[in-house]
Amino acid sequence: MAEIRRIRIKPPSEKAAEVNRLVTPGDTITSDSDYMRGHGTYFEDTKLLASVAGVVETVNKLIHVNPLKTRYNGEVVMSSSVESWSADVVICESTRRELRRRSAKDELNMRKYLQEGDLVSAEVQSVYGDGSLSLHTRNLKYGKLGQGMLVKVSPMVVKRSKTHMQTSLRCQHHPRQQRIHLDQSHREPAGRHPQRWFHPEFGECDAFDTCILYTYESSMRYTITELLVPEKMENVVEWTLQRLEQEGAV
């Protein structure tokens, strides 16, 4: 199964200014008023102090402190389906092309499309006062996720971007069928997916869809059993990082 570790995101190499400095809450970062305040800092009189335990990072004139753990705030939700069907909890449109008004019959038939425990890609329409969400799948890119694997990673690793999408590997390009017995050729691509690591000792890579695709392609050079060896894992990550650097994405 996938090894999940927490890692820090490295600052872009061309902008790394200072030696990374560790601070704890209350430590003075600078008395220079030239700098702008970022996350993990606060002003007191003229001094800039740290409010979390972490490493100070400077990007031009912005100083922020990167703690070891943060929580993810996102807009596009990838989550398991709701536990109960009720008209006032979740409003979910059909995933078919034509838009139809909801009717009582639709609600009864919903079970044919979605069941508890299914994975859905949806967009948050609105947030109610009590915290529950209204989701919609009104776009062709949303809907129920078919055969595949869910890999959970730490929120720290996810690169901040406007849209987050689930990665479609080759196996998912097959037309949506009912769940049939997966033979070896189908299983292999799915098996490579968990071997996506963001392991601190091997290298650091933000999780975004291009990165995952490149890692997948790099891993194609080995068989599944070979990939279980740490050195091979390291190679795969290195190749991916090289490729991303060439393209200037990292």
Partner: protein, 213 residues
């Protein structure tokens, strides 16, 4: 005046998977485990419009929580509200669960120090760190810092102090028993000197954690 220093400190962070921050902290044989959830949703009746609400749940080793535990909760909560930047998270809650694993003296100080480490682990914004030290005044008038359970039981007064990391100002002061003003001030001075060891410990453990990544 007899003075002793704080017993051996050991701590562990991020040991629990569900809370946002957690820590296991021991001072000698006194051990406490803390889990922190937050900033998170809160019931509308409890929410504060301009700041986060700090809730503490103190669980004793044996039995149900009673009035004494409620008093501990209030003291820990007040200390946290003084150091956590609650205005950063309005209408949210920060829930701190403290579980006593073993009480071998200086329990309140242990709890506060454990909570501080867990807050750091959770990445919740704080103005500064806090270190708590207890001390006892024996019948002969000697001041013993970080007393064991036996010393506490025979003492004429037990005092708990908590200090902030920037100016070492007093954040919490709690007294059981009776003592003179001079004794109080000398206890305060001894505890203030002793908390250096704790701040050093916080710093070293943070450095060790970050050097691994």
């Amino acid at each position: 005046m007899d003075e002793s220093s704080i017993r051996e400190i050991t701590s562990e962070q991020t040991l629990l998977s569900q809370p946002d921050g957690s820590s296991n902290y021991s001072q000698g044989d006194s051990t406490v485990m803390v889990g922190i959830y937050g900033p998170a949703d809160i019931k509308q009746s409890k929410e504060q419009m301009d700041r986060a609400t700090v809730e503490v749940i103190f669980k004793p080793k044996i039995g149900l929580a009673g009035v004494r535990e409620k008093a501990m909760e209030t003291m820990i909560s007040n200390t946290c509200q003084a150091i956590v930047i609650t205005t950063m998270h309005p209408r949210s809650s920060i829930t701190i669960v403290v579980q006593v694993i073993q009480d071998a003296g200086s329990l309140l100080s242990c709890c506060i120090n454990a909570v501080c480490m867990a807050l750091m682990d959770a990445g919740i914004s704080m103005k500064c760190l806090v270190a708590a030290v207890s001390c006892a005044i024996t019948d002969e008038g000697a001041v013993i810092v970080d007393p064991t359970l036996k010393v506490t039981e025979d003492a004429s007064a037990v005092l708990h102090f908590a200090f902030d990391s920037t100016e070492k100002h007093l954040v919490l002061s709690s007294t059981h028993g009776s003592c003179t003003t001079d004794q109080y001030m000398s206890c305060l001075k001894s505890c203030q000197d002793a908390c250096d060891k704790l701040f050093e410990f916080y710093r070293t453990s943070a450095e060790r954690r970050f050097s691994k990544t």
